[in-house]
């Protein structure tokens, strides 16, 4: 990267930074040259979903109309429009000097966050485009807008680190998988709420321990996660339109399944980034339990069941799950017959750990008549 256009983040003053942003906007060839330089390429690989659009269109928000209109008004006013801008708080980062392991884990964190925002954007836009129900279309247009904005912000942080996103997936064959609407609600509700809990927990921790804030992006987490929070609110209201979505026996079993799968995946993934969490001064076990606790408290607004994360079998099986996944990686690296056998054994261990988590008795919860919440952490 020897002829890169000066990036706004390299500016020493705000004025200079703004001047560079303007210069970049006026000089597409220079900025194109910068993008084309030998930046490390990272391929975004979003999933493509299709769903039962007729069922989605048949949703009637009348039972929650008052809450719905208030939420949509708030999203329409776009309170975070001005938030995702770099200002004097965006400190310069010495990427070259960053310890390589931390850099790799942090970039992985940014790439996975960017891909998730991107996937959400694709899914929501598709739902907006295919629908005919005006309420649903309006909701998904705002959510798609927010996700694209978040993805742009993370993308800029990646560019600073010399990582360019590659959208090569567009011209590759894409297989569309199927997701029934009810599962879209559970999964996206949870991913938005857990996203909120993850961001706000890091933000509050760094407020108290600013010496661990090794990148300025964390300063933006508070307003950012309020978007995630309100997206989750919209899904809570959608689920509230029909009691069957959450209250029937099979729904309760599915919700329990989704909670277990999402929490245990997060546990395994976070434990794969030890240097990242160490640099933040965060104990991973504490952090994950804290995120589960906040998410579970919030989810009482709509889910009639809650996982018992203080049960003695909970942590034990999470650790088993993590050990099984590590064994799976080792077996994959080993290859051959031994590797195949190792993968099968590790898979069985992971399945057993999952069953152990799933079968922990859940707590029942009386869901309130009006689910709406405001971010409070």
């Amino acid at each position: 990267m020897n002829v890169q256009t000066p990036h706004s983040a390299d500016a020493t003053t705000v004025e200079e930074g703004l001047a560079r942003v303007e210069a970049q906007a006026e000089a597409p060839f220079d900025s194109k040259a910068a993008t084309d330089l030998a930046m490390q390429n990272t391929l975004l690989t979003p999933r493509f979903y299709t769903t039962d659009f007729d069922e989605l269109d048949a949703i009637d928000v009348t039972p929650v109309r008052a809450d719905w209109d208030k939420l949509i008004d708030q999203m329409r006013s776009d309170p975070n429009k001005g938030h995702f801008k770099k200002n004097a708080d965006w400190d310069q980062i010495d990427w070259e000097g960053m310890e390589p392991e931390l850099k790799a884990e942090f970039i992985d964190f940014l790439v996975s966050s960017c891909t998730a925002e991107f996937s959400g954007c694709v899914l929501y836009k598709e739902m907006k485009r295919r629908g005919t129900n005006a309420d649903i279309k309006e909701l998904f247009s705002y959510m798609s807008r927010d996700e694209a904005r978040h993805a742009g912000f993370i993308n800029d942080a990646l560019r600073e680190a010399g990582v360019a996103v590659n959208l090569g997936f567009l011209t590759r064959e894409k297989k569309y998988t199927y997701f029934r609407p009810k599962f879209i609600y559970y999964a996206t509700y949870l991913s938005e709420k857990i996203g909120y809990a993850r961001y706000i927990t890091i933000y509050r921790h760094l407020e108290k321990n600013p010496e661990h804030r090794f990148h300025p992006i964390f300063k933006w987490f508070k307003e950012w996660c309020n978007d995630e929070f309100s997206h989750g609110e919209a899904f809570a209201l959608l689920m509230k339109t029909d009691p069957k979505i959450t209250e029937s026996l099979t729904s309760r079993l599915w919700i329990r399944f989704f909670l277990t799968a999402v929490y245990s995946t997060m546990w395994v993934r976070d434990h794969a980034r030890p240097r990242f969490h160490e640099a933040l001064g965060v104990d991973i076990d504490w952090y994950d339990q804290e995120v589960f606790r906040k998410t579970s408290e919030i989810a009482r607004q709509i889910f009639p069941v809650e996982l018992d994360i203080d049960h003695p079998a909970w942590r034990k099986n999470l650790d088993r799950m993590n050990a099984a996944f590590l064994a799976m990686d080792r077996a994959r690296a080993q290859g051959g017959v031994g590797g195949w056998f190792g993968r099968m054994t590790a898979g069985a261990r992971a399945a057993r750990a999952f069953a152990g988590l799933y079968l922990i008795p859940v707590k029942r919860n009386e869901v309130p008549d009006h689910p709406r919440l405001e971010p409070a952490y």
């Binding site: 194109k32 790799a104 993805a151 894409k174 999964a187 999402v262 794969a272």
Partner: protein
Amino acid sequence: MGLFTRTTETAPCTVEIVHKFEELSAHVRLDNGAVIHPGDSVLVHGAPVMAPWGETVVEQRTATITRASAIERAWTRLTGDLEFMELCEFSFSEEATLRHGEARA
């Protein structure tokens, strides 16, 4: 749609990419109103598309839609739900151990 056989068809499509600070997004729209069903695949013809930094690119292209066989469609409907984990921020890499220092390509 056969029980076991796939069919293909082509459709005009619009690819739109926004590569800006305030937005990163990419969408493919089938312009003839073709509907994608579970298990179908879509291939957009031509060279990879990318908008330069700070720009929006809209291109008209042709896409081939490979329709899934009835069996595939049914199978995707049954199992697709289990891929929901992809929507969560923390679940994209397959490995539980990150390989440090390797370029992700």
